[in-house]
């Protein structure tokens, strides 16, 4: 008989992560189960706020939800590893190890304890620096810059380079950059356009790795257990494909956007291998601090970080 599942996420229907990720997943599962599974989609925080979606799936308000690891760092502390700088230079590069570790590795248990089963996980494109007035090349160029950061890892990242990390709510970022309240902002390229930040910055880096963000599609544990074996299998199979599909789509979009904005007069910053090495060295203490602080309550923190690095390097 027909199985109907409610899906909640926070992006609009036009967002790349929705079209190439969540919606793509739903369509493929519907197709490959010959219509046995049907989804009812509640996009754009309709079902719950982004930060509440993990609980919404765990309690059964929805069956399936997209969750952001950094939206619930208290519930998914090890998964907050994705926020660290230096984990790969593309969405695909970070997604492969992330999805493996969330699905079957050291990052899985936190989801199970929260009452959900992870179907797939993907990373965004690594955060780049966008600047309104002055470019940066070397680490020393960051000295004294006011940088809008999202969350503590990014704030640490900015501070390690001598900049001041400034917290601002999303809706105030555009004004803050336009009026010069901040000198720059750390953002993943595909998220720049929804905020129209390309209108108010002159410089964008292309190959930095200043942290990342991880998204996980999760399903209520009891709902998952009650599914027929063949449906479970299809979901997990489609899940891995969806993770890579949405990662690649973001990388492609990012490349296209950068080209478009360069044509409109924005200067792209490409760090040299030496500069990238210097950033890596400068930012190493950020990861050390993460391992130390998360490690206090989670003995696996160091193992998680090292496994992630190894997974990135293995590609």
């Amino acid at each position: 008989q027909q199985i109907e599942l409610k899906v909640g996420d926070w992006q609009s229907l036009q967002h790349i992560q929705s079209t190439a990720g969540t919606q793509w997943f739903m369509k493929e599962v519907e197709k490959r189960t010959n219509g046995k599974v049907k989804f009812v989609h509640f996009p754009a925080e309709q079902a719950a706020k982004a930060r509440g979606l993990l609980d919404a799936a765990a309690s059964g308000v929805v069956d399936i939800a997209l969750t952001g690891s950094l939206y619930s760092p208290d519930r998914l502390p090890l998964n907050s590893v994705i926020g660290l700088p230096g984990l790969g230079n593309s969405a695909v590069a970070a997604t492969k190890p992330l999805n493996d570790m969330v699905r079957n590795g050291l990052l899985r248990d936190e989801f199970i304890s929260a009452g959900v089963v992870p179907l797939y996980a993907y990373a965004l494109t690594p955060y780049q620096i966008l600047l309104r007035e002055k470019a940066v090349a070397n680490v020393s160029d960051w000295d004294g810059l006011k940088i809008r950061t999202g969350g503590s890892t990014q704030a640490l990242t900015a501070r390690s380079m001598g900049a001041t990390g400034i917290s601002l709510p999303g809706p105030e970022v555009y004004t803050a950059v336009e009026r010069g309240t901040v000198d720059g902002v750390l953002f993943p390229i595909p998220s720049v356009a929804p905020y129209n930040l390309q209108e108010v910055v002159k410089f964008i880096s292309t190959n930095g790795s200043f942290g990342n963000f991880g998204c996980n599609l999760v399903i209520n544990q009891a709902t998952f257990d009650a599914l027929p074996a063949d449906v479970k299998e299809v979901m997990l199979e489609v899940g891995t494909e969806a993770a890579l599909n949405v990662a690649k789509a973001q990388d492609d979009l990012s490349a296209g956007l950068l080209k478009e904005w360069a044509a409109q007069g924005i200067t792209l910053i490409e760090f040299t291998p030496e500069q990238l090495k210097a950033y890596e060295d400068t930012l190493a203490p950020v990861s050390d601090e993460w391992v130390e602080r998360i490690g206090k309550n989670n003995p696996n923190a160091k193992a998680v970080y090292e496994a992630f690095l190894k997974g990135v390097a293995a590609q």
Partner: protein, 428 residues
């Protein structure tokens, strides 16, 4: 079918005088229970309050309220009114014009209509009474002048709309400026017509330069505060939220330097600000329970599809929505109306292709009119209770101004540029 029942429950509770927030939460929870079962429905309550209130963007609400409370406690708002009267009070109907002028100034400091009307009832009305202005004119000007506060930034209602619909609050503030000034112009024209009637607005004191200059001394700090806040935002020194904090801190310093200020007034200002904030955020999270129910019934997409397939022109739908909101304004407070209607009305208007900024101003203007209409017109109530003039007299005096309000609303609807021009020039 259950949707109809749940809606009936909601209206029964509202008519039975249950607070709007509680009524929405209870009706919503009944609906959710029917939709997803008891255990799942109440699981929504786990994080409800935390999630709705743990938002930095909400901070501007208590801060702007606090700024107004402090300025009133320090007697600064009253002196602003007196200064305006000293400058133009001698003209025909001048004390009424001065009230409108002071209302515009106060509006740039105060985010709430009733607060503004209350201030003017105690400061502008006595002077008009002294020179034997007709009560119908003087109390009406005080009531309608207050409504400017929610169009001219800062505005609690616009912040509330911005939070519920995720529209830029900075842009909403800009969008409200010209409609606010247009409304003030409408009041001026109405006063000019009314003042011509015999005995409506007898001549007041002759103009006296020394008196005018002396009274203006107290306006300077107020101007400094207004332009300081604007300047902080536009020069990039501060974000809008930070500007609210700087404004409130400025008001605190200003108030503390006034003779009229004392410790109990200071505590009272904080206490009232927190109470008003609690009232507003309670409506926010309780309306989330009700809108959550609407989401899971999927009624919103159904209504949108129905409307789109009906082939009715969007303008007709808009007209029906505005009439409905005007009607709700007979009974309900502006924040409550928005909490009640936006979950359904906002997605519908967006699907019809209307601009979120423009709609924000139009709906604010519409609920503002509700502040002046019987049986519940909060500004009229406040004015009547503070001046001691009979409620009926105030309502009667307000009528000609309501006509002006409707004309302005029509202008805003037919010429969206009045609203959108400024944000387009300097938008966020």
């Amino acid at each position: 079918m259950t949707l109809v029942l749940v809606t009936l429950v909601l209206f029964a509770l509202l008519l039975g005088r249950m607070p709007v927030a509680f009524a929405m939460a209870i009706a919503g929870l009944i609906g959710l229970t029917e939709q997803m079962g008891w255990t799942v429905a109440i699981s929504i309550l786990e994080r409800l309050v935390f999630e709705s209130t743990s938002a930095f963007i909400l901070v501007a609400i208590p801060l702007f309220i606090l700024m107004a409370e402090l300025l009133t406690a320090g007697d600064i708002t009253r002196r602003t009114v007196i200064a305006c009267q000293a400058w133009i009070g001698h003209l025909k109907g001048g004390l009424a014009f001065a009230t409108v002028g002071a209302a515009v100034l106060l509006a740039a400091l105060v985010g709430s209509s009733t607060a503004s009307s209350a201030t003017m009832a105690t400061s502008a009305y006595p002077e008009m009474k002294k020179f034997k202005y007709d009560d119908r004119l003087s109390t009406a000007v005080v009531s309608v002048g207050g409504t400017l506060a929610i169009l001219i930034p800062p505005s609690i209602v616009l912040i509330f709309y911005g939070v519920l619909t995720e529209t830029s609050i900075g842009n909403l503030f800009l969008a409200g400026v010209l409609p606010g000034l247009l409304t003030a112009a409408g009041f001026v024209v109405t006063i000019m017509i009314r003042a011509r009637r015999q005995g409506m607005a007898p001549p007041a004191e002759a103009f006296e330069m020394r008196r005018a200059l002396r009274s203006s001394v107290s306006i300077w700090p107020v101007m400094l505060l207004i332009f300081g806040m604007m300047g902080a935002i536009y020069s990039g020194i501060a974000s809008p939220t930070e500007a609210a904090a700087l404004g409130a801190s400025g008001a605190l310093i200003l108030a503390l330097t006034q003779r009229e200020m004392n410790r109990s007034k200071l505590f009272e200002a904080f206490s009232r600000s927190v109470q008003t904030t609690v009232m507003i955020v309670t409506i926010i999270y309780c309306s989330h329970v009700f809108s959550g129910y609407l989401v899971f019934t999927r009624v919103t997409p159904d209504v949108i599809e129905m409307v789109q397939q009906s082939g009715l022109p969007p303008s007709l739908i808009l007209f029906v929505v505005l009439v409905l909101i005007l009607f709700l304004g007979f009974f309900l407070d502006q924040i409550a109306i928005m909490g009640l209607t936006l979950p359904l009305v906002f997605p519908l208007m967006m699907a019809l292709g209307y601009d979120p900024l423009w709609f924000g101003i139009v709906i604010t203007k519409t609920v503002e009119i509700g502040l002046l209409t019987p049986p519940l017109g909060l500004n009229v109530y406040v004015t009547a209770s503070r001046t001691g003039v009979a409620l009926n007299t105030v309502f009667r005096g307000v009528m000609p101004f309501l006509l002006a309000e409707l004309v302005v609303l029509a202008l805003l609807v037919f010429f969206p540029d009045i609203t959108l021009w400024l944000p387009e020039q300097v938008g966020f």
